[in-house]
């Protein structure tokens, strides 16, 4: 991790600590908790997209695996939530290996297709296996989490807890990038053949990063289940997988920070839009949640066409350009 990243984490943490005091409303804090689940998944996904150059359209399935493991094991078998989370991770790893090994050994974007199929199958199973998953009715009464006897039973407590997890996850991800594996991955992204000829076992690294990204999602799914206390197949479908990809791509897929920004931005966007719509309601413009799809699609398209590096890089470039403009001006003045 470079100094910039350490500074980034410190600033990010400060912002996270200050935010609840500024908004101070449980509803909005709840939205930020949801943003954290997306953020955690997106950090993992950005490792895969930005550094291994692969795309997964089934990450919501890993969320689902985590969430359903936690829900089933705690509700039906009475396991400790923490043990259930670990089992969810193990399951996600096995699934990621089953999907990843065959499709990542191939060159190209077969993973996208394999994960798309895998994601739909998991979603279909969660809906159809009524005896096991509860089907569309879902599973309720999932217990809240306890840490050393302290129940995390309010929005603010959960906010603190989940964002600490996200920061730890971020820390890990940034470390992976600046390790030998990270450099190997970037080499693979640049050219698979060149990386392979300089002794990098390309498919092994790609599979490893895919498994890691699946772990991130599984953890997010488990914590999601414990936060909402009730799960159904709804949020684990293809649309959510696509939304996660959108978040990473909008934020900027070549930087983990981009995924953080993209996921937070798009998670709170519907809220911002509906707030705006309440303000402008008097003018005959009304915002409906139905428009979400349209807006996500337009944003993703606009970003991919005009700012392929994502918002994060776009803003960075903007600053650099401003700086250049500024320095040029001063130098000409002297």
């Amino acid at each position: 991790m470079g100094t910039k990243d350490y500074l980034g984490i410190i600033w990010f943490s400060i912002i996270l600590v200050v935010t609840p005091f500024i908004i101070g409303n449980d509803y909005y804090i709840g939205i930020l908790v949801f943003a954290a689940f997306n953020c955690l998944s997106c950090i993992g996904l950005s490792l895969l997209m930005g550094y291994a150059g692969q795309i997964s359209l089934g990450h919501a399935a890993f969320l689902g695996i985590g969430a359903y493991s936690s829900a089933l094991l705690t509700v039906k078998m009475g396991w400790s939530p923490w043990l259930a989370i670990v089992l969810g991770i193990i399951l996600a790893v096995i699934m990621a290996l089953v999907i990843g090994i065959p499709s990542l050994r191939l060159k190209g974007h077969y993973l996208a297709m394999a994960t798309l199929g895998f994601g739909s199958i998991i979603h279909i199973v969660t809906v159809a296996a009524v005896d096991f998953t509860g089907g569309p009715a879902g599973i309720s009464q999932i217990p809240t989490l306890n840490i050393f006897g302290f129940p995390i039973n309010s929005d603010v407590k959960y906010y603190a807890f989940i964002w600490i997890i996200v920061v730890i996850g971020l820390f890990f991800a940034l470390n992976i990038i600046h390790s030998r594996s990270g450099r190997a991955l970037r080499a693979i992204h640049g050219s698979e053949d060149a990386a392979g000829s300089s002794g990098i076992h390309t498919s092994r690294y790609k599979i490893r990063i895919f498994v890691i990204s699946a772990i991130y999602s599984s953890i997010a799914g488990s914590f999601y289940a414990h936060y909402v206390n009730y799960i159904d197949p709804g949020p684990f479908g293809i649309m959510h997988s696509v939304l996660l990809v959108t978040m990473v791509a909008v934020g900027g897929m070549h930087k983990v920070w981009g995924a953080v920004i993209g996921s937070i931005l798009l998670s709170v966007l519907p809220e911002i839009l509906s707030t705006i719509s309440e303000v402008v309601e008097g003018y005959g413009i009304e915002y409906k949640p139905d428009y979400d799809t349209l807006i996500y699609g337009s944003i993703l398209l606009a970003i991919m066409l005009f700012l392929p590096g994502g918002i994060f890089q776009g803003v960075g470039d903007g600053f650099k350009r401003l700086k250049k403009l500024f320095t040029r001006k001063t130098s000409s003045a002297v």
Partner: protein, 300 residues
């Protein structure tokens, strides 16, 4: 008696499978045409199918356009949508990395889905069968006239498809681009135009698939993803880029799916085709009809 019952059940499932399979085959052909021209899997393919179906519904039930006219008009509208998509989202990209192009097609698919939802809402739309819905009886199994329409239109499209790619200048130049874009450009073929044609044709075939299946499945805005995914399954099973393989694979996939739904469980029907997709992807990524050597040359 019991035996003949079993036979007619089987036949019934096979009819149903061919009916669905024909649609997968058409969607798969659409995938292949764009894949051959650009090397990209167009994730918006399923949305073309939905648009075709929904536009057809609006034209026939609200505007009372005669079916034949509405058929061609709807196809044309979706083809225009395909061309617009290519001109505004694929063509302007200066450094077209595959990953970026794939995400662009995903974005377009979300956008089209959003537009479809804003226009038609979340209802599913019913449309009359082309020529009545009194089924014929064959060996104790029944077959809808619409199924015959679907099979017939598939055959006609495959016929025109072969004619187009083997006997017209545009078709031949598109094939040249698919084989080697640089070489095609060297002999004076406008490869960017070929990409535009591929989007038009692919959107058109997708639209037709949507139009002919709508009387049977009732179209709604959200059907694109699954239809697209199964069509993609057919494309992979048939060997990516191989359109005749896709047709065969699509029908096989449809029949297996229908048999699975009939004999195993209808709840898992959608999962069966996807499971086959995964198995083929893992065991034989070149597809059952594609040669593995040719697929190694393709960089996807």
């Amino acid at each position: 008696m019991n035996h003949s019952n079993q036979f007619s059940d089987l036949l019934q499932f096979v009819f149903m499978g061919i009916q669905r399979g024909s649609i997968y085959a058409l969607v798969a052909m659409g995938f292949n045409i764009i894949y051959n021209a650009t090397g990209v899997i167009n994730f918006a393919q399923g949305e073309f199918v939905v648009l075709g179906g929904l536009i057809m519904v609006s034209m026939t039930t609200m505007l009372h356009v005669p079916i034949v006219v509405a058929f061609f008009l709807s196809t044309l509208v979706v083809m225009i949508a395909g061309v617009i998509m290519e001109r505004f989202t694929i063509n302007p990209v200066k450094e077209p990395g595959i990953l970026r192009l794939i995400i662009i097609t995903i974005a377009v698919s979300i956008l089209l889905k959003g537009i479809a939802m804003c226009i038609w809402g979340k209802d599913s739309y019913h449309m009359d069968h082309f020529s009545g819905d009194t089924p014929f009886e064959i060996f104790g199994a029944t077959i809808l006239p619409q199924t015959l329409w679907i099979i017939g239109i598939l055959v006609i499209i495959v016929f025109f498809f072969i004619l187009f790619f083997n006997h017209t200048m545009i078709g031949k130049s598109m094939r040249a681009c698919a084989i080697n874009r640089d070489a095609a450009r060297l002999v004076g073929i406008n490869d960017r135009l070929a990409v535009m044609y591929s989007f038009a044709i692919s959107a058109g075939i997708g639209a037709i698939a949507g139009i002919i299946i709508t009387p049977i499945i009732q179209m709604d805005y959200g059907r694109g993803a699954l239809l697209g995914l199964k069509g993609f399954g057919a494309a992979v099973v048939g060997g990516l880029g191989n359109s005749i393989g896709a047709v065969v694979a699509g029908i096989i996939l449809g029949v297996i799916e229908a048999l699975g739904a009939g004999y195993i469980s209808s709840h898992y029907m959608d999962a069966i085709a996807l499971l086959i997709l995964l198995i083929v992807l893992f065991l034989r990524p070149s597809g059952i009809m594609g040669s593995s050597e040719a697929s190694r040359l393709k960089d996807f």
